[in-house]
């Protein structure tokens, strides 16, 4: 596989906030068409990895390439789903406005979204079953609906590589299964998805590949190879409550 086919290539990436390192020497090569879960304890640098990969925080050292190019030259092929809490849901916009923002990157400066963009946005809303809510003000949405709107916005971007920051946090069960179905559908269309996740038991079923992170890469590979007691313990080491969760998750798997 030539390097320009690799959706994401990270080499020796180190990130520090005010001289305190949060990520050490990350090396990563994510193949195309995979649904990758990023797992790790709190403070492991999961969100930081996404942000650094997207060029939102400057790395101390190392580099990131997206389809063989630095991220700034390839923004259109990358989509981002931020954490739901990162925006003010009382902002005076409706659902359609938010989804249309996914088109802004394609429009370039000064141009307003046209009929084609609206049609596409409607299609994306339909794919997350939110079309009836298109004209709803966003403060009238439930947590799960907010997350679906963010996903519709990402769909409207029509990118090839997606970073998602905890899309399952605080959503209802129906939304969770709708989202995972959507992620699989996207994957089947050849998209590559990196998803920050915090629930161990479900991680095993949801993802093709897992990245275990604890300030450095503990393990990265197919779920079956990575989801082992030893590796999980290594990633979550020393944290008793989570250890028991790991034990439970592994027990369920029948190891």
């Amino acid at each position: 596989m030539s390097s320009s086919d690799l959706p994401l290539e990270v080499h020796d990436l180190t990130v520090a906030y005010q001289k305190k390192s949060v990520l050490w020497g990350i090396d990563l090569e994510v193949p195309r068409g995979k649904l990758v879960g990023i797992l790790g304890p709190n403070g492991a640098g999961k969100s930081s990895l996404i942000k650094a990969a997207m060029g939102l925080i400057p790395p101390t050292s190392g580099w990131v390439k997206v389809f063989g190019l630095p991220i700034q030259e390839n923004l259109k092929r990358v989509g981002y789903v931020p954490q739901r809490e990162s925006v003010d849901w009382d902002f005076p916009v409706n659902v359609m406005d938010v989804v249309l923002m996914g088109r802004y990157g394609h429009l370039g400066l000064f141009r307003r979204p046209g009929k084609k963009d609206r049609d596409l946005a409607r299609e994306c809303l339909d794919r997350v079953q939110m079309l009836p809510y298109a004209d709803r003000q966003i403060s009238n949405l439930s947590g799960g609906q907010q997350q679906r709107v963010f996903l519709a916005r990402a769909l409207a971007q029509d990118s090839d590589l997606y970073f998602m920051d905890e899309p399952f946090a605080g959503v209802d069960a129906a939304t969770e299964s709708a989202i995972i179905e959507l992620l699989h559908e996207m994957k089947n269309r050849g998209k590559t998805l990196l998803v920050v996740h915090h629930d161990l038991p479900t991680a095993r079923n949801y993802f093709d590949m897992l990245l275990l992170l604890n300030m450095r890469v503990v393990a990265f590979g197919n779920t079956a190879d990575v989801f082992t007691y030893e590796l999980l313990q290594k990633a979550y080491g020393g944290r008793l409550t989570i250890l028991s969760e790991v034990a439970e998750a592994v027990r369920q798997r029948g190891l």
């Binding site: 923004l75 003010d88 005076p92 923002m101 802004y104 990157g105």
Partner: protein
Amino acid sequence: MISLRMDAGVVRSHLRRWIWLVPLMMLLGGSISTLQAAKVGDLGELNLKRQAIRFLSFKDPAVRHAVLGSALIGISCGLFGCFLVVRKMALTGDVLSHAVLPGVALGFLWNLSKTPPYPILIGATLAGLLGIATVRLLLNTTRLKEDSVLGIVLTVFFTFGVCLLTMIQRLPTGSKSGIDKFLFGQAAAISSADLWMMGVIAVLAVAVVSVLFKELLATSFDAVYARTIGLPTRWVEGAFILLLAMGIVVALQAVGVVLVSAMLITPAAAAYLLTDRLNRMLWLSALFGVMAGVLGAFCSFLGNNLPTGPFMVLAASSVFACAFLFAPKHGVVTRWWRHRSSTVRIRMENTLKSFYHVLEARRFEGDGVSVLELATRRRETLDEIRGRLKELVDHELVTTEDDRGVAFLTPSGWKKACSIVRNHRLWELYLNHAAQVPADHVHDEAEKIEHVLGEDAVRELEKKLSYARVDPHGRLIPDLAQIQKGLPTPSETGRVTGYGR
């Protein structure tokens, strides 16, 4: 809600500033002349009328300048303010507007005169931007949070400006310079050069907001996301701050340093309460800004050139108060009124329901229902029932024969009574069937739902319950089609007899 909270904060901070400006005004001995007209005795009725005519006839060039200038800054402040409000940056606007004061003073010292205004404008813009830069610097290099940093920068810059102004007042030419007008604004002193600048800024504001609407919207809603899709958020933000600073500076002549932030925030906050879309909010806010500006200029002119700023802010605050009270969705009075009218409706529907129950209990024989029967059914006093009946009579749902103490349903009253009972029983059945709620638990829930079920919801329920006829308590559910078909023509007295069996 956010804007409300901010507005309260702004008002409070203004009050605080006013109070400590009192000794300052005394210090500025020479400037007291501007405030002399505030003595009520001077404002004779004749004078007011004459001034009003002079203002409204628009002949006086000073009036034309004042009105046009105030309207123009109303537009620019209104537009910029929207972005401050939705980005929760109201206090940043406050800092920027106060930080310009030392720049005003230094610009004046450049050639010891207010004319030409360019040194003052340039100095003020630079001082404002320096203030914002200081805020950013402190935020990036210390652990301090934004509110503390804003508080420090605002007061430091403003104090520095006040010191410089005091110095200027002591200069031989200082007291006649009119520099003090920058504190509270004086629309009548707007020169044509000022006017030009206000026009340029207003046109720029409209142009930038319409051309860069998409970029401003995305940056304001979700700046991080905007960066990830490649929008030039830093440029957009920088351009916005620069324009905002220039907008504030040209507004100074009319509104004054102390209150210009209110002209930014109050019209926008009022618009925020009235709409859920940013583009409409921008229109409304600009409109409110113009209204406040012109009204402020008018009042100031009536009072023989009283400071304009306070009047503009009063006008803007009145608009805000109206929005707070009467906004169609969130207004306090509107909400109260909606609640009240729904209480009345529910009360009437409950009484109509009792009509049905009384009639049902006697197998729909006889047509009148006595006040006593209703009172027993509703567990209310006779007087209360008479009051309820009066309400129903007013709505032509019921007729009464007072001497016999008997009431009759009109055709529309009968239809309404049937549909409310039907809503109740359908909902009970639905809860019982679909949600497996025991039959003796469903009544209270249905008491509430019966008043809110719409036509469509009822159709849906009917279908889901496969057009059942009997509720969980074994009573008949009145059928809408039958109600209408079986409804006998009203007799000449307008009463219903037969009750559609």
